[in-house]
């Protein structure tokens, strides 16, 4: 199946590992990835006051460019996103465009230099594709090396699960990452912070607040026996990693490596070329140490 792929700024920069692993996994599962041509920044956050239409220009422009690519390369209407923030913004902007004709008109006027937005796309996050289009059974079939009961704590972060209209799973008790981990032979760890916020963009202005927060998250994961934390949001990944480093002295328990979900899936599928060497070595060691 040919699907559109919207990377977003960060995936091509600090989270390039995520892209490599995710695309390899999806290609192994039979998808043909077509990157959106001339993609632009999606905007990262969705403008909440309903009269700030200008902030919806970026995500709608992205969707328009995606539609153009869809027409040109004859792909299906599925638009893959890897980053939680892109997923959130694109879906919210899409909903707003469809539900409010006033805003839709204004946006059409702002974006008159682009083709019209037709609203034909189906925006799906990497995890949604794995769950809904592939299915857990098929994932299990593709596993070449089991993760040997590795204790994995998932960190969903906030924007994948809230608000409810764009959530990919239940906001209080999400299970999609845990289910995938089970198929890979890992042992998911349930701890209270898995659906909570890491501090997000506060890291720009008041990073200390974020370090305090992520220290609590990592400590909690430690308490419940996690060996690894996986996430899909590049900002969460950065906050969690940096937080541990900056609060090394106060941190109770070990430091926990932070990986992307796609990296564990790629490892389990045996797609070593898609992994950074140090990541592969790390996972190897952890699985081996479990015996």
């Amino acid at each position: 199946m040919r699907i559109l792929y919207y990377p977003g700024c960060t995936v091509k920069a600090t989270a390039i590992r995520d892209e490599k692993a995710s695309l390899a996994v999806l290609e192994a599962l039979g998808f043909k990835i077509v990157e959106v041509e001339d993609w632009v920044c999606c905007g990262a956050v969705y403008n909440l006051p309903r009269d700030t239409v200008i902030q919806a220009v970026a995500p709608i422009r992205t969707l328009i460019r995606a539609e153009s690519t869809m027409r040109k390369h004859k792909t299906s209407e599925i638009l893959l996103t890897l980053c939680s923030m892109c997923n959130h913004v694109l879906k919210m902007a899409d909903n707003m465009y469809r539900s409010d004709p006033d805003v839709a008109y204004k946006l059409d006027v702002y974006l008159s230099d682009e083709p019209n937005y037709e609203g034909k796309l189906k925006i799906m996050h990497f995890l949604e594709i794995l769950r809904d289009l592939v299915g857990y059974d098929k994932i299990k079939e593709k596993v070449r090396r089991s993760l040997g009961g590795l204790k994995v704590a998932s960190f969903y972060g906030c924007l994948l699960l809230r608000p409810r209209e764009v959530a990919i799973d239940d906001s209080e008790d999400p299970i999609v990452i845990e289910e995938i981990m089970i198929q890979l032979g890992a042992d998911p760890v349930d701890y209270p912070y898995r659906n909570e916020c890491c501090g997000s963009y506060n890291v720009v202005r008041t990073p200390e607040y974020v370090w305090d927060r992520t220290k609590d998250i990592v400590e909690s994961a430690n308490d419940y026996g996690a060996e690894i934390i996986v996430t899909t949001c590049p900002l969460c990944a950065y906050n969690l990693e940096e937080g541990q480093k900056r609060r090394k002295k106060e941190l109770k328990g070990r430091e926990i490596p932070i990986l992307y979900v796609s990296e564990l899936v790629a490892y389990a599928f045996g797609l070593d070329d898609a992994l950074e060497p140090e990541v592969k070595v790390l996972i190897d060691r952890m699985v081996r140490d479990r015996g």
Binding site: D170, S171, E172, D173, P192, D223
Partner: protein, 653 residues
């Protein structure tokens, strides 16, 4: 030949201040059928009524029109006056020239003109009225009470003590309802079972009450005075008369089951069991779903040891048909499931329990014998969080307030401190609603005597950490978030009614939250819109025991009102069927809100005693076969013509 009398009232200055009453009288006299017309200052007074009576006798009037206030005020007055002068009350009509005329118009010309038209219009109606007789129907002197909780028990006793038969239908194996599950009741802290079981025993030995447990009402037809009811009685497999509660059967039963109903999954029981020792009827019951001996010969351990030969594994269901004159619905409530609250764990944490489970844990006849031990490991919890408003007052779950939780949570916290004096109790609340008698004083007592800590703020999340539960809340008064590790959490879950099925069977309305709809929230809180069906207890709306009992007695008195008559009479302004025009399409039977039309092989038939004269069927009938007594189309057209001042002269017949 009609001889109409018109009486125009001044109503002091209410009418006469705007309307030229003398002119109205003059114009009324011009109507071909009017024989007499006069005016008077206060028609409803004794003098006024006398004028009417004298005129009827003197002029041999056949119909009268009183032009005055609204018929809702005085139609009965004038009908009664006319009746005592020998005139049929349905030949009396009122023209409302006050509320609909003099009170809403200032211009005297306009008002007088309108009054004249209104009077002519009413004259045109009354000459077409037939002299009707009130509809009578016999009353079966038996009452059905659906639901054997405290409300049903009270209603049954009240009706039975007044000398009428009562059939009490309860779907569980014993009566007693929720009150039997409680340990103590607020604000007196009476032991719930101690005050309930005497009433249960009274019901059991009352000669006028027949109890059907393990039973449900499955069909109801007919109308007030004579309802035809079908009851399905599920098999108990144990003979109630023979069983002497020796409990030998229970000892040998091999099938162990979670006690989901009475003890809310806190303990186990056998497949043959009694819900609690004071159950009424006092007999064992077999849980057929979990017993693998019923209907077969696979297992009969209990039969072997029963000295009374009370067990019959081949017992069958019975359908009982009975006729009753009135029905009282008291089906009670259940708790909103904690499995729906995601932020508190979706019901997966063993030590996060609901309020009824807490009652069972502290009840002396409960699964832990009255010692408070938490479900997960049996330890005595040293710190308990009580959370109010769980599921209630929440647009994502139940929008309403469940009314009893503030009081019972205070009671719970108080009792907890008595059972575990060195324990800590925290109550997380938004408001404290203590509106009943001595309720506020009880709250004060709890807050001051027992050192329970009240924190104003809702709990956002509960997580499990080791053997503790961490409560994430906020103290809205100090503005500080609170993270509190506790041993056990008690959720005051909202209450939801059990009315879906019974409402459909009785065809009575339920409101948007599932509670039975009363006829008028202020002035008729125990009557349903269907005559003869009354409501009591939480089925009608969240309330505590004392209000349930009060409402049960109220419903009983309404039922007695019906049962104490040999026949009931009602207004004859009902729908009628012209059988020749009826095509038997059945639209009327589906639309009638009072189930007053039934289809027979000869055509539609109106059950006059149930018909309220709303006119829905009349409007809907495609053949025009239905009409409303004294509201015939001919009359209405003449009324309209008069209002439009076309005033054709009706034929002198």
């Amino acid at each position: 030949m009609e001889r109409v009398g018109v009486f125009v009232c001044h109503c002091g200055r209410n009418i006469a201040g705007v309307v030229d009453v003398k002119k109205v009288v003059e114009e009324a006299k011009k109507h071909p059928f009017v024989f007499h017309a006069e005016d008077y200052k206060y028609m409803c007074s004794a003098v006024g009524q006398n004028l009417i009576q004298e005129a009827i006798k003197k002029y041999g009037l056949t119909s009268i029109v009183v032009a005055a206030c609204s018929p809702r005020m005085h139609l009965e007055t004038f009908r009664t006056a006319a009746m005592s002068a020998g005139l049929n009350p349905y030949k009396v009509e009122m023209a409302n020239i006050r509320e609909q005329n003099s009170w809403v118009h200032e211009d005297p010309h306009v008002a007088t003109e309108k009054a004249i038209r209104l009077v002519w219009s009413t004259i045109n109606k009354v000459i077409g009225n037939q002299p009707l007789k009130k509809v009578r129907s016999n009353v079966v002197k038996r009452c059905l009470v659906i639901g054997g909780g405290i409300a049903g028990i009270q209603a049954a006793l009240d009706v039975a003590n007044s000398g009428f038969e009562v059939i009490l239908v309860e779907k569980s194996p014993t009566i007693g309802g929720r009150m039997a599950q409680l340990s103590e009741t607020f604000p007196t802290l009476d032991c719930a079972q101690c005050i309930l079981t005497p009433k249960m025993a009274e019901v059991a030995r009352h000669p006028n009450i027949k109890i059907y447990t393990l039973s449900e009402v499955i069909e109801v037809n007919g109308s007030v005075g004579k309802f035809k009811v079908k009851i399905r009685k599920k098999p108990r497999y144990v003979d109630i008369e023979a069983c002497n509660m020796c409990s030998e059967c229970e000892k040998v039963c091999p099938q162990v089951v979670l006690d989901k109903d009475f003890n809310r999954s806190l303990t186990i029981r056998k497949a043959i069991y009694i819900p609690f020792p004071q159950a009424v009827p006092p007999a064992y019951v077999i849980d057929a779903e979990n017993c693998y001996g019923v209907g077969t010969t696979r297992c009969s351990e209990c039969v072997k040891v029963c000295e009374q030969n009370a067990i019959n594994l081949f017992d069958t269901e019975e359908i009982i048909e009975v006729e009753v004159g009135a029905i009282i619905v008291a089906t009670g409530y259940d708790l909103y499931p904690k499995e729906k609250i995601g932020e508190y764990g979706y019901g997966r944490y063993e030590d996060v329990i609901d309020s009824l489970q807490f009652e069972r844990l502290i009840a002396s006849t409960g699964p832990t014998g009255g010692e408070l031990r938490r479900p997960s490991d049996g330890k005595v919890p040293k710190r308990v969080a009580f959370i109010q408003c769980v599921g209630s007052r929440d647009l994502q779950h139940l929008p309403y307030c469940s009314r009893i939780c503030c009081m019972y949570t205070a009671k719970h916290a108080f009792l907890y401190k008595h059972l575990v004096p060195d324990g800590e109790a925290y109550v997380f609340y938004i408001d404290i609603r203590a509106g009943g008698k001595r309720y506020e004083e009880f709250i004060m007592r709890v807050q001051t005597e027992s050192k329970v800590r009240y924190i104003r703020g809702r709990v956002s999340k509960i997580v499990q950490k080791g053997d503790k539960l961490i409560v994430h809340a906020v103290d809205t008064i100090t503005g500080k978030p609170i993270t509190l590790p506790v041993d056990m959490v008690v959720l005051a879950m909202g209450i939801v009614p059990n009315t879906k099925e019974i409402a459909e069977i009785l065809r009575i309305p339920i409101d948007e939250n599932g509670f039975l709809q009363e006829l008028h929230p202020k002035l008729a809180p125990v009557e349903s819109p269907i005559k003869g069906i009354f409501l009591a207890g939480v089925a009608q709306g969240p309330k505590d025991i004392q209000d349930s009992v009060a409402q049960a007695s109220a419903a009983a008195s309404k039922a007695i009102e019906i049962l104490s008559k040999d026949y009931i009479e009602k207004e004859p302004l009902v729908a009628r069927v012209n059988k020749e025009l009826c095509s038997k399409c059945g639209v009327c039977t589906q639309l009638c809100p009072y189930n007053a039309v039934e289809m027979t092989p000869e055509g539609a038939k109106v059950i006059e005693v149930a018909c309220e004269g709303c006119g829905t069927c009349v409007a809907a009938c495609p053949s025009g076969a239905l009409s409303l007594a004294n509201y015939e189309p001919k009359q209405i057209f003449l009324m309209v013509d008069a209002l439009l001042m076309k005033i054709p002269i009706p034929e002198k017949s």
